[in-house]
Amino acid sequence: MAACRVTIELDDPGKVYSDGDVVTGHVVVVSNKDVTCNGLIANTEWATHGRGNVDRGEVEQAELFRGEWSAGQTYRYPFQLPTAAWPPTYYGSYLNVSHLVKARAKLSWALDPEGKAEIRVTASDTAAQLEPPRNQQTAKAGWFLSAIIILILVGAVGMIVMTAVFWLPLVLIVLGIPMLIVWFVRTWLPRLYTGKVEIQLEPQPVRAGETLRGTVSFGSARRFSINEVRISIECIEQCVSGSGSNSTTHRTTVVTHEQQLLGQAELQAGESQSLEFEFAVPNHAPPSLDLRDNDVIWRAELTIDIPSWPDLKQRLDFAVVPSSTPDLSDNTMAEVMQSRSWLDEVLEQLSQSADDPERLRLVLDAIAENEFAVNLTVVNDYTEYEVPDPNDAWMEALDELSDVDFAVRFAAKSDVPAEGSSWRGTIRITGYLTEDSVVVAQALASP
């Protein structure tokens, strides 16, 4: 049996912290033996976890106690510690950022027992705005160091150049020619037709919950036809594990949005095109993160599909900052998570009953009186589904946790939320569109 057990009790476990708010609570120590504690240390920190190397930052630590603990006793030590303002709490697929309050009792001749509690941190600014002032000072004071580094670099480059003179022809052949071919095919050839292509995005950075507006402009150096012009917006988690040559980069796309800007068309020489597009950044969209080995990257990629000719592809990264109004109140989210497993079970049953009308009816009858707390992403493009009355107040939405589509009926059209936004509330499941695998539901309440 361990000498003692350390746990953390937060005063407000559901609180969402921001701007370095102070977290308060108690470290509770239950002592099983008479032990000497060489320091009960509490600290706040953030750390990444997932496929990439762990990036972490300690915020502050405090020693709460030092002395003797008697067997069978329970001790409570209050603490108040600031939280980090950046990065915000994030749960993705390959990357997660957690903020923790930790406590550790340093014991002699025994493993140090530890306790930890996770807190939620949101941010309403960008990483740059939240950068601690001391980092800016370091940058200003570093001119002397920079000068030395530049001198060393110049020397090193000189040495490399001398060595490279001998190897230069080989380097050009091995590296230069394939790169030249790639540039020729991917950039030079398509631009023979399109001329200079520009993508503009506004605002930069864009806040989650806002709309990103973009313009694509290009001319036509000569008459040509195109199959389509499309823009795809992606959010990618990029994590590096290992180091040096043993490092592996893991990437996964967590948000994808594709939009056709122009269909088949014939463009005349000298004609210029200016195509606009919009993307409603979901309120809960992952924020852009640039940690040491863990990044969240938002990217727009333009494709101009030219028949029988290499396509033009052009990329532009942009930044998403967290929403200023986090979309979930504590209680609602807790409610969502509590009813989650029951909802998952119901969705599984519905899916399995798709080919068996009798069983489907049984399932629907069984849950007719049940209410489910949900958090849905509004898609509002249900024209392809046969909902009972498309002219009624319907919302099509995606439940991200299960990847199941919902058609939710509202009392009035004005209640239907905007496309791209998140809708949290309570629903009652009333039907299931078997061909399209869409759950039909009635909205009961939203907070």
């Binding site: 496929r51 749960y91 939620r120 994808t256 195509l275 606009e276 919009e278 998570m337 497993s341």
Partner: protein
């Protein structure tokens, strides 16, 4: 403007204000993600006793020979983990990692035990330095260096890390990760990976722990975000 967008957001749970999706199933993280170096050492399943004994006693048994431990095998079988564990257990020992490219680090020839990771990448000059070292040597390598070590007066014990590990060892390694990621370690029996499953994983991934962990990471992520079965079917 033609607008025919399709949005598919695969983020498991809303950011910022949402509670941890892992907490819903009793965890604080996915157990099969990357670990910090300290944690990697703490959770490693390495029977260090015989290794330490070998390093400490060889010189006494065969005075003419200096002990060298060679961990041999490809990436992902645990060479570096073994070296990290030994580094933590041998006072004053220093581990040097040789990258594939870039500057070659200097060997800390003054340390009581020399630990070299990716020794097959050493240049001839550094290798010569290492072979002249007179203290116990521990190396991780993809290429068998026994011949040159023996030639230079080392008594070599080679541990082939790619050799099949018993199922219970694999299960233990994976269960330690699970235990370290649980909110309440008392719930471990619910999530424990049994020896039989570890055996199947061992077979499927030819004993490569890194590949097993990558597979289990994705399976656990599906379990959390899509309510897939846990443990996964192998």
């Amino acid at each position: 403007m033609i607008h025919s967008g399709e949005l598919r957001d695969r983020t498991p749970v809303a950011t910022a204000a949402s509670p941890s999706p892992y907490a819903v199933v009793g965890f604080w993280r996915n157990p099969f993600g990357e670990l910090t170096r300290d944690e990697r050492v703490r959770l490693a399943v390495v029977e260090a006793g015989p290794l330490l004994h070998y390093l400490h006693t060889t010189k006494t048994v065969t005075p003419a020979r200096v002990p060298a431990l060679q961990f041999l095998g490809d990436c992902g079988y645990g060479k570096t983990t073994n070296l990290l564990v030994l580094e933590s257990l041998l006072p004053g020992a220093r581990r040097v990692y040789y990258p594939e490219t870039g500057p070659r680090p200097k060997l800390p020839l003054d340390s009581p035990v020399l630990i070299v990771d990716e020794a097959q990448r050493m240049g001839w000059w550094r290798r010569r330095e290492m072979l002249k070292y007179h203290g116990p040597l521990v190396i991780g390598t993809h290429k068998d260096l026994t011949a040159c070590l023996v030639q230079n007066g080392f008594a070599v014990w080679t541990i082939d890390v790619a050799q099949s590990k018993p199922s219970h060892v694999v299960a233990d390694a994976l269960n330690r990760r699970i235990a370290a990621s649980l909110l309440d370690v008392e719930t471990l029996p619910t999530y424990r990976i049994e020896d039989a499953l570890a055996g199947r994983l061992n077979e499927r991934f030819s004993g490569n722990l890194r590949r097993m962990e990558a597979f289990l990471y994705d399976a656990f992520q599906s379990y959390v975000s899509e309510s897939s079965a846990w443990p996964p079917v192998v």
